[in-house]
Amino acid sequence: MSDDKILSVDRLTMRFGGIVAVQDLSFAADRKKITALIGPNGAGKTTVFNCITGFYKPSGGTIRLTHDDGRVIALERLNDFRIAKQAKVARTFQNIRLFPGMTALENLMVAQHNALMRASGFTLLGLVGAPVYRDAERHAIDLATDWLRRVNLLDRADDAAGNLAYGDQRRLEIARAMCTEPALLCLDEPAAGLNARESAALSELLLSIRNELGTSILLIEHDMSVVMEISDHIVVMDHGVKIAQGTPREVRDDPKVIAAYLGTDEEEAVAVMESGS
């Protein structure tokens, strides 16, 4: 079974001083599938994300990433930029973190830093204008152009990222993460602040990333229309622990999930459901 799981989180615990943000959380994300991590505010979703992407060092537990070629990487042992560079895990942020003073195209070029660094002979070959670097740069621009076309921003390529509309910035950030050619794409609330039309376009984009490129996606999202439409698997968290998981359908009908979202006991939630149906 383990070979079709790209990410398996096992008994992950994260403590900040005396506060336990995440406790004994175990879940897995399927390869080439979209896994959603949902839960009420303060459930610890972003903490889990920060542990997976190396911004926090977990207090306990393991996070295993299995690449297509069978390579297994222990993410909890890698830190910082190495997770993106070696483990090929890319992420976006809840509050958009683009490079506002650089153009949309430049943002996507920075994302290809490691590949371009190698091609530029760690700057030396690039400095003398070696053809090998010029080819690599042209290839990088092609990849960036391709992504700008996919996220419908080709005509804004030379505009500063900070000048783009909010929804455009969200899409550009996803394009930037994809330009690192990740094995696992982690999206922290990609639909936050988007209107219904933009959310629909986002769903379409994420589905095309999964279907056409086969990139596995892990996302945190509050917009249930997006989550229910695109997710293959949903993990529900509350107060740092997993309370449910399954297909969108299973999760939607789970009384524990409803109780968590309504902030009530399970019995009351069941009563509410029964009276409603």
């Binding site: 992407t53 190396g54 911004f55 910082d80 930029f81 190495r82 997770i83 993106a84 560079k85 890319a90 992420r91 942020f93 973190r97 683009l98 490079f99 506002p100 003073g101 650089m102 153009t103 195209l105 430049e106 070029m109 920075v110 994302a111 290809q112 830093h113 490691n114 371009l116 660094m117 530029s120 700057t123 690039g126 400095l127 670097y133 740069e137 621009i141 152009t145 080709l154 390529a157 030379d158 505009d159 500063a160 900070g162 000048n163 930037r176 993460a177 690192t180």
Partner: protein
């Protein structure tokens, strides 16, 4: 309800009165009282209430006039104040300013061949242009506030001075060595400050600059301490000395020897070094490393999420900036023929940083213009004697009000699909160290 600015005479007088009071407090000690050595050497003071009163009166009257002008003209954009014809003219000038300046600089030794003062000033300005361009890599591109840049200038200068006086190595051999040594110290400084940001980074770099200076003062056996290093060899024209001897350049070319030859030679050496700095920086900006520097200035967390090693990126920025500082230092040593720790005080760091900030962080042309303004302008006001600093300071304040993000604040993209358009300075981050 919007608050309407008060326009009556009482408010006018009130503003003027407050300004006059501030002026009174400021000038009472600066102008009102003057200390002098008395006849027996004791400290006495004379009061100058007349001057003080006239200054306060000027401030009082001036604020009334400015306030009235403001009310008559009202809030205006630049479009209103500057006619479109002049604006288009300015953009035309802007496009050809850099090549025109370069051609003029190349011709300076020809035009001003007989004016030693201008040539010396030109060399000084170019030295600061080079230092500004070097620091621009660290502050302007990578957004790391470095208050101790003079340390690398000192390392470069002492590297050349000591290697040349102790081992007799030539300038052209020592120049790369000075750069490498300075870059090495840049990396050494970089390591401890990697975790620091903003103010904290600035303080540590400031301390580093002082440490280098104090080590130079106190390590007497090596550096000569406060006495400095004397008799530093002058640069040769690829092995041919520029002096009055029989195998000097003048004698070999069969022309009459003149001391100006060496000055002109030095002028072109520093020009070449500065242009090298500029060329390398422009190239680096378009390479992944340069883009990573700018991305680091914009958002360090996002850089890490994209797999960019922020540690090495910061270190390369420090090392590159330091290397150019080291080149400039070696040049300084060979031009002066004598160096002492006094040349490497915090004042120098502040001056170079001011050039970078005034020029517009990240802009090569802006830094060059700022160096010209700061160093050239400072000389221009020489006639004002003691009021030089005052006038100069006021000019700086005015420029920063007019152009808060430096003379050239906008940023040019490093790569484009259809059209390179300048990015407004409002969007470009200043970096947080």
């Amino acid at each position: 309800m919007t608050a309407k600015p008060a326009t009556g005479i009482p408010s006018l007088l009130k503003t003027a009165f407050v300004n006059a009071l501030i002026a009174l407090v400021l000038f009472s000690l600066m102008v009102g009282i003057r200390t002098e050595a008395g006849s027996d050497g004791q400290l006495t003071y004379v009061t100058r209430f007349g001057e003080l009163a006239s200054l306060v009166a000027i401030v009082f009257g001036g604020s009334i006039v400015i306030e009235l002008l403001r009310q008559w003209i009202g809030p205006t954009g630049t479009e209103k104040l500057v006619p479109p014809a002049i604006q288009s003219g300015m953009s035309f000038v802007g496009r050809y300013l850099a090549p025109a300046l370069l051609i003029f600089t190349l011709l300076v030794p020809v035009i001003f061949y007989d004016q030693r003062y201008i040539l010396d000033l030109g060399i000084l300005v170019l030295t600061y242009v080079m230092l500004g361009w070097g620091l621009n890599v660290v502050v302007g591109l990578a957004g790391l506030l470095d208050l101790g840049y003079v340390a690398f200038y000192a390392v470069g200068a002492y590297s050349y001075a000591l290697l040349a006086t102790n081992f007799g190595w030539s300038f052209w051999v020592c120049l790369p060595l000075a750069g490498i040594l300075a870059a090495f110290w840049g990396v050494l400084l970089g390591f401890p400050v990697l975790r620091l940001r903003g103010d904290y980074l600035a303080i540590v770099t400031l301390a580093f600059g002082e440490i280098i200076r104090l080590v130079i003062i106190n390590w007497q056996e090596l550096t000569g301490g406060p006495n400095g290093v004397t008799g530093i060899p002058r640069p040769s024209f690829f092995g041919i000395p520029l002096d009055n001897s029989d195998d000097g350049l003048a004698a070999r070319l069969g022309i009459e020897y003149s001391a100006t030859h060496r000055i002109v030679f030095l002028f072109y050496v520093i020009l070449a070094l500065a242009l090298l700095t500029n060329w390398v920086t422009i190239r680096l900006r378009r390479l992944p490393i340069g883009r990573a520097w700018e991305a680091l200035r914009e958002d360090e967390v996002a850089c890490r999420a994209l797999g960019i090693n922020t540690t090495t990126t910061k270190l390369t920025a420090f090392a590159t900036g330091a290397m150019f500082g080291g080149f400039a230092g070696a040049f300084f040593a060979t031009r002066q023929g004598f160096i002492s720790p006094e040349s490497f005080t915090f004042q120098e760091s502040a001056l170079v940083l001011a050039i970078v900030v005034l020029g517009g962080m990240g802009s090569q042309l802006g830094v060059a213009l700022a160096a010209l303004t700061m160093i050239g302008g400072f000389e221009l006001f020489r006639g004002l004697e003691t009021y030089r600093m005052l006038v100069f300071g006021m000019a700086m304040v005015l420029i920063m009000i007019w152009r808060p993000r430096g003379l050239i604040g906008h940023r040019a993209p490093t790569v484009y699909l259809t059209k390179a358009q300048a990015i407004s300075s409002d969007l470009v981050k200043e970096g947080h160290g």
